[in-house]
């Protein structure tokens, strides 16, 4: 009986496994069995190449990376690549294992969102030694002595500047105290805060009235729960806060909850980051004033474009940073994504 359980379990895996396997068509195998030479025919269309991309996602619990996976799969299929997505679950050890698995499966390229900017280095080095190109996406790897074939991510500093502009705009002539919910572990989030503060500093220099002071920068964990607690404590410590910048949507939503419980929704404005569905909805509902939004869809497409150029031996831009765009209530009202969700 237990064996049947096992079997049905694995049959389920089989079905899943097959669906990703199917698209890898074998190159034509004319006359090889007799001669032991596999010649690739001239009439072969380049789109039928049976390439395979291994993608180790940061965490498939975060919809952001699911979108990257989907766009990678879609763009890959258009160029004859099948994509195997694995979930590193924010664990560098898991990701290193997944990269090793990709190497032994003999994939044509590896795409990762590095779970640790340093510690993933040795695994990338192994892929380098096996001659398999590695592309990074969203987050970068800073380890030394490794080769990254290409990177695509968000221009987080520019995004931070947009957030700063939004804050200056919403606080208007009065200015006031601002709380920042940061997440120093992620370099991308540090850049967001840097960009934000650059705009705030510039604003303060150019104006006499309505100066904005960042009274506190604390860890919002990039998480709704931690963001909520951090904001709730800060609101008690700083009774005059007028604006909150949170480095992503979950922590922005956590902050909103805290502001609501403190009964200060009418005086405090929140600027978030990311533009994931829940964030966009919150902007539509007026909970968040604005978000610099990222474009994960373009990341999957961009990676495939780089891979195709790499394989063709053509020159291509090694690093692409996609600028963010500011998303406000009027954008949300026109957003088909939100209408579809309703």
């Amino acid at each position: 009986m237990f064996k049947t359980t096992w079997l049905s379990l694995l049959l389920a895996i089989f079905v899943l496994g097959c669906s990703s396997e199917e698209s890898s068509v074998i190159q034509d195998d004319n006359n090889n069995s007799v001669t032991g030479v596999d010649q690739v025919n001239d009439d072969q269309n380049s789109d039928s190449a049976d390439g395979k991309i291994g993608y180790s996602a940061m965490s498939l619990k975060n919809p952001f990376f699911v979108i990257i996976s989907d766009s990678l799969t879609e763009a890959g299929a258009a160029h004859g690549f099948s994509v195997v997505t694995t979930d590193a679950d924010s664990d560098v050890n898991k990701q290193a294992n997944q990269i090793e698995d990709f190497i032994s499966q003999g994939v044509d390229a590896i795409v990762i969102n590095p779970t640790d900017k340093e510690a993933i280095g040795p695994a990338i080095k192994k892929a380098n030694e096996a001659g398999i190109p590695v592309f990074t996406c969203d987050l970068q790897c800073v380890a030394e002595g490794i080769e990254i074939a290409g990177h695509i991510g968000t221009d987080n500093f520019q995004g931070g500047e947009l957030a700063g502009n939004a804050m200056v705009e919403v606080l208007g002539d009065e200015g006031g105290e601002v709380l920042v919910l940061d997440f120093k572990q992620a370099n991308s989030c540090v850049l967001r805060v840097d960009g934000f503060k650059k705009v705030i500093d510039a604003h303060n220099e150019s104006t006499q009235t309505g100066k904005i002071t960042v009274v506190s920068e604390i860890n919002g964990g990039g998480d709704q729960d931690i963001g909520y607690k951090a904001a709730a404590d800060s609101l008690k410590a700083h009774p005059n806060i007028r604006g909150i910048f949170a480095i992503n949507d979950p922590s922005a939503l956590g902050a909103w909850q805290a502001v609501k419980e403190a009964d200060r929704l009418d005086v405090i404005q929140i600027v978030g980051f990311d533009g994931e569905l829940a964030g966009k909805q919150a902007i539509l509902d007026g909970k968040i004033y604005a978000d610099p939004i990222q474009f994960p869809k373009q990341m999957g497409q961009g990676i495939v474009e780089k891979l195709v150029a790499y394989q063709a031996g053509e020159s291509y831009e090694k690093t692409t940073l996609i600028p963010t765009a500011l998303y406000k209530k009027e954008d949300a009202e026109k957003d088909p994504e939100l209408q579809a969700a309703e």
Binding site: V37, N41, D42, Q44, Q98, A130, S315
Partner: protein, 453 residues
């Protein structure tokens, strides 16, 4: 009758081996796909077939990646082609970009190339696609007849390749090593929740002691070994501490090790100073992980040796018998003269030591001490032990079973990863697996007890 009973007992004790084998066969069948030979033997047979089929009057460009394995492949290909009388125009080891440059140079020099001899991986580079070749043919007459030759592919399970199997063993070695200590603890009817945190503590202590006391960047191999010993010693001491609290104050092991788990995790973060990872600059840090014995990663060798030692200790020494006796019936064991307190303390110390070793291996693997290392590993380790047939009630269990249990978990994870299953579903499957194992454990008693009484 007696024979039947032995078979039954064998099936109950080693049934998991069959489960593992069934799993391997199943995953093998499911992962059958095209294999593309890239070894020198395949290169030579490709060269011979090419000369035999189209004659020796050909100009060949040998193409491969710039890796040591590919270099051997290309050299074999070149040697055999030249031995057969064919002309090797050049050997291009590199990337699609360098290959494009090479082809353009050959085209400009009007050097005729009939064949690109390569392997499957490079044959898929788009610079060699029919479109790209047509384009080049229109620019350079010398390349107008360019064809591609590669060794024929064959069907074989991706799962059943030496690379993959070694990979599974290597990836699961730290968990399996910790599972040895955990088996001992669980046989005494205890539990140790602190192993994952101790693993992190060991990694961070290794990194910190190298950075602060043992010379940092200039630390010698000996200093690295010393740092490893310090880290493992700290974890063994933590185990002793847990054992003392459990025995002296009769606090349930679950609570003691739950506390230790939090303390060790917190201390790892404090030691790391809030950083994600403490980088280890010493050059020889990676040696332990990356070295190998007869082509087998030393981590695997270490694991196998430890399992053999543990098996011998548990089956052929007084200490092993004491451990079983304490788990079976502590009072009876005490009355018959078993040093219960010492045995329990030793068992937790061994468990801590094993966690320390896993942490040291982690530090060597990633070249950093990560306070986040080993999160939730305690659960995987316990799962390996339970799946391996050790009873949580204590008194019974086998080291060999734990080895099989760790492999079953590793094989399933490998299969799930190959199928691209997300971590949510993996958790469901893992959980279901543990439930099934515990059910088997219960049924086992029902099946065996009536037969033996």
């Amino acid at each position: 009758m007696k024979k039947q009973k032995y078979i039954r007992v064998f099936l109950v004790d080693y049934g998991m081996v069959f489960v593992l084998m069934a799993l391997c066969i199943l995953i093998s069948v499911l992962t059958i796909s095209d294999m593309h030979p890239e070894d020198p033997a395949a290169a030579r047979s490709l060269a011979r077939s090419l000369v035999k089929e189209v004659g020796s009057d050909i100009n060949v460009l040998v193409v491969a990646r710039k890796t040591s394995a590919d270099e051997a492949y290309a050299t074999a290909l070149q040697d055999e082609l030249e031995a057969g009388g064919a002309h090797v125009v050049a050997v291009e080891l590199g990337t699609p970009a360098t290959l494009r440059t090479r082809l353009e140079v050959l085209g400009q020099q009007d050097e005729r190339v009939d064949f690109v001899a390569t392997h499957d991986f490079s044959s898929k580079w788009r610079v060699l696609s029919s479109e790209s070749r047509q384009e080049m043919a229109s620019l350079y007459p010398a390349l107008s007849k360019l064809k591609i030759a590669k060794p024929p592919s064959y069907r074989w399970p991706t799962f059943l390749t030496a690379n993959n199997l070694i990979g599974i063993l290597n990836q699961n070695a730290p968990i399996a090593i910790m599972a040895i200590g955990m088996t001992l603890v669980i046989i005494t009817a205890g539990i140790d929740l602190s192993v994952g945190s101790l693993m992190a503590l060991a990694a961070v202590v290794t990194a910190k002691s190298l950075e602060s006391y043992l010379g940092g960047e200039d630390a010698s191999g000996l200093s690295v070994v010393f740092a490893f010993l310090i880290a493992m010693g700290v974890c063994a001491l933590a185990g002793v501490f847990a054992g003392v609290i459990v025995t002296a104050f009769k606090v349930p092991p679950f609570v003691v090790t739950l506390g230790l788990m939090m303390v060790a995790r917190g201390m790892s973060y404090i030691l790391a100073g809030g950083a994600d990872a403490v980088k280890i600059e010493a050059e020889s840090i990676g040696t332990l992980y990356s070295s190998s014995v007869l082509g087998i990663p030393s981590q695997i060798v270490l694991m196998v040796v430890l399992f053999i030692v543990a098996h011998i200790v548990m089956n052929h020494t007084a200490f092993g018998r004491y451990v079983y006796a304490v788990g079976g019936n502590e009072t009876a064991a005490r009355l018959s003269g078993v040093p219960v307190v010492a045995v329990l303390i030793a068992v937790y110390a061994i468990c801590g030591l094993a966690a320390g070793l896993a942490g040291v291996l982690d530090a060597s693997h990633f070249g950093t001490g990560r306070p986040k290392a080993g999160e939730f590993y305690e659960l995987q380790v316990i799962a390996a032990v339970v799946v391996g047939g050790t009873s949580l009630m204590g008194g019974e269990g086998k080291i060999f079973g734990t080895f099989i249990g760790a492999l079953i978990l590793g094989v399933i994870q490998n299969g799930l990863n190959m199928a691209g299953v997300d971590s949510y579903s993996q958790m469901v499957i893992y959980g279901a697996l543990i439930l099934v194992a515990v059910l088997i454990d219960q049924l086992k008693k029902k099946v065996v007890k009536p037969a033996s009484s």
